[in-house]
């Protein structure tokens, strides 16, 4: 320190103009930060598990290359303090990361004071000689950050601290090193470089004999050499790995290196220093390297308080501002699952069906009545199509026979018979895919002819509300009676209903509810489940043994029917209005019903017209419900023949006693959960 002259803080304008007439001012290309996605994972882990609420200056390693890339890169290995990979062609830099606890302390901390603090540390490393022993301290950096670990949002600001002065000038136009060095000398340079330890490779020196033989030496050796040599011709070359991608501008690391040299070798400040900017890699013997002849400066600020620092990184808009990155899509496991599910669906759209409307599928609110085998299967397939809103209605509990057939339940749900299916199913959906908005409603569906239940009238209103609030109703209960009220209410609210019913080896999937009109006649076209039969639902559960109501279907049948129900729904909603039987959409046709028979592996798609005397969807029934609801319901629930009388079916039956009726036989229908258990 004593041997340096006291000078003013910065070169005055006068001095500046004097030099700029003849010489070009040396400008350095700043470094930019480049972060690997796994850097942020490590940041989160350390903040959560190690630092917690401490605001520590954590030491870090940055990497840069001389390959035309003015970036300093950071990844998860930046947090290790040892770099052992001597084969790596990267140069390393040492700096610190300060993770603030609150967004406020990140925003309000004095950035000038901080930079002064960072710079002060650098100056200390320079003065003490630590930076000469370990040159990776020269291109230092600091990261100020705030991490919002709940939302995976990161605010960060890099600084590559350096000294604002002095200024340096080019003695002449920079030239390619090829013009000075012979191929043999390049060979010696590359070999010498590889023999250096990795932390010495960023900054070193070369001394040349008169015969042109080059000796590569560490920075410490070179500085000792400089201290003893003051002749301009014999000072050799100062070498640094140059990340710059600009031909005539060296990269930022040189700025600090020159300061260090001037500080320790004040005697050379009147000389022209020959600086080799290594460019390229050892494999190509740094063939793109440049030679800068730099006039050093006699101006040097010594009063520590007067030293000014620069180095905050600009953001992408070129402003001196912190950066901000939202990584919730890749770091939040929930959002990651959502993104992946969406990508799979989008790939289907992009590849197979460009007109496929996935949004309308995703936005559809789906009500699943009956959380048994069919209900579980339908829910899973809806989820696979990206549906977000699913509500289950069921009043049963999970029993020991359920989990093997009903894909949402586990043995643990059965223990102590404590878990309601509707609740368990909704919970498991969220376990499978956390983005699902699923709800379970424990409720029994009021049924015609079943001795009036105290809650029946209340439940009718609740069911009516649920149907009104959803876009599609999957009717998956196991008895004709339980399908009656949802069928009527779907028709009332003009909602798409999809009924699936199972036989031992047969299945039926049918869409109804939404009014479909014949364009020419204006008549209702598509029938519901009840349009095809002329018997009103009575209490068919009363006279049956458990065997007849229970699981006597081939296990695959419900999976086929459940999957078809969902595919029918997805095809249907691709079209908007008056979807006639076998109407065409981007995925193919939209049948009215699908019937399949596993014994001979056949499937047909019949269209069945609506029946004007239907006990579930005919205007007579709907109007009666609308006009005198309480009376109508009381009659329906207590009098098994009321509906048949109302629609005139009783007289019809008397007329045609031998009529052939198609009906899924109840005794064949499997236990889909809810209703059989009340027996």
């Amino acid at each position: 320190m004593d041997n340096l002259p006291e000078t003013a803080s910065a070169i005055s304008n006068e001095d500046y103009s004097k030099t700029s007439v003849h010489e070009t001012l040396l400008r350095f290309e700043p470094l930019s930060s480049c972060l690997d996605p796994n850097f942020w994972f490590k940041v989160c882990q350390l903040k959560l598990e190690v630092d917690k609420l401490d605001e520590v200056h954590r030491p870090l390693i940055g990497y840069y290359t001389s390959n035309n890339n003015p970036y300093m890169s950071f990844d998860c290995s930046s947090f290790n303090q040892e770099v052992n990979d001597e084969t790596s062609l990267k140069c390393i830099a040492r700096g610190y990361c300060l993770n603030k606890n609150t967004i406020d302390s990140f925003k309000t901390c004095d950035k000038n004071e901080l930079l002064k603090e960072f710079g002060g540390r650098l100056l200390d490393d320079f003065q003490s000689g630590r930076a000469i022993e370990d040159p990776s301290l020269i291109p230092t950096f600091d990261i100020l950050m705030y991490t919002d670990l709940k939302r995976y949002i990161f605010y960060f600001w890099f600084a590559f601290p350096s000294f604002s002065g002095p200024k340096y000038c080019l003695n002449d136009t920079p030239t390619l090193l090829k013009n000075t060095f012979s191929p043999t000398q390049f060979d010696l340079l590359a070999v010498g470089f590889k023999n250096l330890k990795i932390h010495q490779r960023g900054f070193f020196g070369i001394v040349s004999t008169k015969e042109g033989y080059l000796t590569v030496m560490t920075l410490k050796e070179y500085i000792d050499f400089l201290k003893n040599n003051t002749e301009n011709d014999s000072v050799g070359y100062l070498v640094f790995a140059d990340p710059s991608d600009l031909l005539n501008n060296p990269g930022w690391p040189l700025r600090n290196l020159l300061y260090l040299i001037l500080f320790h070798c004040p005697s050379i400040r009147t000389l022209v220093l020959k600086v080799i900017a290594l460019r390229g890699s050892p494999t190509t013997k740094f063939s793109a390297s440049m030679l800068f002849n730099i006039k050093l400066s006699s101006e040097m600020v010594l009063n520590q308080d007067a030293i000014k620092f620069v180095g905050w990184e600009k953001n992408s808009k070129g402003m001196f501002c912190p950066k901000y990155v939202d990584l919730s899509k890749t770091m939040d496991s929930t959002k990651q699952a959502k993104t992946s599910v969406d990508l799979n669906l989008k790939l289907m759209k992009w590849r197979i069906a460009p007109d496929l409307n996935l949004d309308i599928v995703a936005q559809s609110k789906c009500l699943i009545i009956g959380a048994g085998t069919l209900g579980c299967c339908v829910a899973r397939n809806l989820m696979a199509w990206g549906v977000h809103n699913i509500t289950f209605i069921d009043n049963g509990k999970v029993s020991y026979s359920n989990p093997v057939r009903q894909s949402l339940y586990r043995h643990s749900h059965c223990i102590n018979s404590n878990t309601y299916k509707a609740i368990a199913a909704a919970d498991v959906l969220r376990e499978i895919h956390p983005e699902i908005n699923s709800t379970g409603v424990v409720m029994s569906i009021p049924m015609p002819g079943h001795a009036a239940n105290i809650d029946d009238h209340k439940n009718v209103d609740l069911l009516s509300k649920l149907i009104e609030d959803n876009d599609v109703i999957f009717l998956l209960t196991d008895s004709r009676e339980s399908r009656w009220l949802p069928t009527m209410l779907s028709t009332l609210h003009n909602k798409l209903a999809i009924t699936a019913a199972l036989g031992f080896e047969s299945y039926l999937v049918l869409r109804h509810g939404v009014e479909v009109l014949d364009v020419s006649s204006g008549e209702k076209k598509l029938g519901c489940y009840f349009c095809n039969d002329v018997t009103a639902p009575g209490n068919s559960l009363v006279d049956k043994t458990l065997d007849q109501q229970c699981t006597v279907t081939r296990p695959g049948v419900s999976n086929i029917a459940g999957a078809l129900a969902v595919e029918l729904f997805v095809s249907y909603i691709q079209l908007k209005y008056n979807v006639l039987a076998n109407a065409k959409c981007c995925l193919g046709i939209v049948p009215h019903s699908i019937r399949g028979f596993i014994s001979d592996f056949q499937q047909i798609i019949p269209f069945t017209p609506s029946f004007f005397q239907c006990i579930a969807c005919s205007p007579t029934v709907i109007n009666d419900f609308l006009n005198k609801k309480e009376e109508f319901l009381s009659n329906v629930f207590t009098n098994p023949n009321y509906l048949e009388d109302l629609t005139g079916l009783t007289s019809l039956k008397n007329e045609f006693e031998n009529i052939q009726i198609f009906e899924m036989n109840d005794s064949d229908v499997e236990d889909s959960g809810t209703y059989s258990e009340r027996v």
């Binding site: 930019s32 930060s33 480049c34 972060l35 690997d36 996605p37 796994n38 850097f39 942020w40 390959n67 890339n69 970036y71 960060f156 090829k178 191929p183 390049f186 390229g280 890699s281 494999t283 190509t284 013997k285 063939s287 950066k323 990155v325 939202d326 990584l327 899509k329 890749t330 990651q336 992946s340 990508l343 790939l347 992009w350 590849r351």
Partner: protein, 194 residues
């Protein structure tokens, strides 16, 4: 039409040596398989590229929006033992560490795409978990790779004047935004040093 692992390693080593020659940045890495502790070799290239962004429109017309956004591109070329062919995994991210979406990747590589490749692109790319690193990467489906190798007339029995791995890579490179220097195709006319 398949390539053995040993052939893959030979071709990869050849590719790497030319890459060293022209400073192209490919390195040959090793992954130690936790099951049998064998080392598996694969090629890696990581590069910061300034890319132009094109917005991807339904009519596939270019509209220039932003210029020179630095994007980090990482490419891994592995050997796929099931398909007996090379298998390419890649990711791109911005310098703040944010991974790009597939749409975004396409908007960047769009510039390189020829009309016919453009139409076919969705058939080829998927997002999958990297077999070594267990993180999501984009992947060109390997069934396409055997197809490309077949089209190039590759058969494991033949001896080749050219390196089939390089031929394959230059065929698929436009799809993944990778530039393959012309000298790979014509390694005899080597760029001489000084």
């Amino acid at each position: 039409m398949s390539m053995t692992y040993q052939q893959f390693v030979d071709y990869a080593t050849d590719l790497k040596s030319h890459s060293d020659f022209i400073d192209d940045g490919w390195s040959l890495c090793q992954y130690q398989c936790p099951m049998n502790e064998n080392y598996i070799k694969y090629l890696v290239k990581k590069k910061i590229q300034k890319m132009n962004k094109y917005s991807l429109k339904s009519d596939h017309s270019d509209s220039h929006t932003e210029n020179n956004i630095p994007v980090v591109c990482e490419y891994h070329i592995l050997y796929n033992p099931s398909y007996s062919c090379p298998d390419v995994f890649f990711n791109m991210w911005s310098t703040d560490g944010k991974l790009l979406s597939l749409e975004h990747v396409w908007s960047l590589v769009h510039y390189f795409l020829k009309e016919n490749v453009e139409r076919d692109k969705w058939n080829a790319i998927t997002q999958e978990i990297h077999p070594f690193f267990s993180t999501p990467f984009f992947r060109l489906h390997p069934c396409k790779n055997t197809h490309v190798l077949e089209m190039l007339g590759f058969s494991s029995k033949n001896n080749y004047e050219f390196n089939p791995l390089i031929a394959w890579l230059s065929t698929i490179s436009p799809l993944i935004g990778l530039e393959i220097h012309l000298s790979y195709g014509n390694k005899d006319s080597k760029v001489e040093f000084t």
